[in-house]
Amino acid sequence: MVVDQLSDAGVDRLFHALADATRRDIVRRTVDGEHSVSGLARHYPISLTAVQKHVAVLEDAGLVVKHRHGREQRVVGNHDALRRAQQLLDELDRLWHGRLDRMGTLLDEDSRGGTT
């Protein structure tokens, strides 16, 4: 199962990190390639310090990887972590497919004169 690959605390960090619109946007931008933190900051009406904090939350959740290039801090998205988040949503999808299927099975029993 998907969640086995992550501790509960890891899952909490992952979804907390994605629960903020600015952080989701940072992930979207960095998943296609490396960006400097100062370059990212130009996209948002918030301070560089605030952007650095968002990047730190994302890094803690494993969604981005940060490294130093000369005097610049650079950030790149982590595809594996994003795939895990998507897989978690897919699990919820399967939960409801199962429920709707079971409702259908119950209703089919009526027409076959089964017990309800």
């Binding site: 899952v11 979804f15 949503l89 999808d93 939960l95 709707l100 079971r102 409702m103 259908g104 099975t105």
Partner: protein
């Protein structure tokens, strides 16, 4: 014949599930209104649900527990917000502790059920789940985690029954 569709909107934190059934709205409503029928579909086969208090009236609280493969029994509740039998039901679905008190630290989600008549007979059932946060979605997934593995089995059963 059941046609199901699940649409995810990660930005709005909603999931919309749609299924069509060849029955009347009253019959489809009974799947939710009769706790014994509800128990047969709410939990996956490995995590069956037992409904304790069940009264679909605005202001009422429906309580249930699920029994896991290792005997664990997570508890949940629905706070019933709107009822228009046999068309619409709105509940807030959350987790409860062993004294049935809502666990505020555990996320809840709003679930809206709509049952509409389909042209030519039958109904379209739509369930919309809205989450306060992605954490809320994750918690629900954790509760329904067994489902991924048991779904295939359920489908085989349905084919054999048909």
């Amino acid at each position: 014949m059941t046609v199901t569709h699940v649409a995810k909107d990660t930005e709005r934190l909603t999931m919309t599930m749609t299924a069509e059934y060849d029955v009347t709205a009253e019959r489809a409503w009974a799947l939710w209104d009769d706790p014994r029928q509800l128990e047969r579909w709410w939990g996956p086969p490995t995590y069956p649900a037992t409904f304790v208090d069940h009264d679909l009236r605005a202001g009422a609280r429906v309580t249930y527990f699920m029994t896991g493969p290792t005997g664990d029994q997570p508890r949940g509740f629905w706070d019933v917000l709107e009822v228009e039998a046999p068309r619409r039901l709105v509940v807030q679905d959350g987790f409860a502790d062993h004294g049935w008190a809502p666990i505020d630290a555990m996320p809840s989600n709003r679930m809206v059920l709509d049952i509409a008549d389909r042209d030519g007979g039958g109904v379209v059932m739509t369930v919309t789940s809205t989450f306060g946060s992605l954490e809320a979605m994750e918690q629900l997934i954790a509760m329904g985690m067994e489902e991924g593995m048991t779904l295939a089995m359920g489908q085989i059963d349905a084919i054999l029954a048909g």
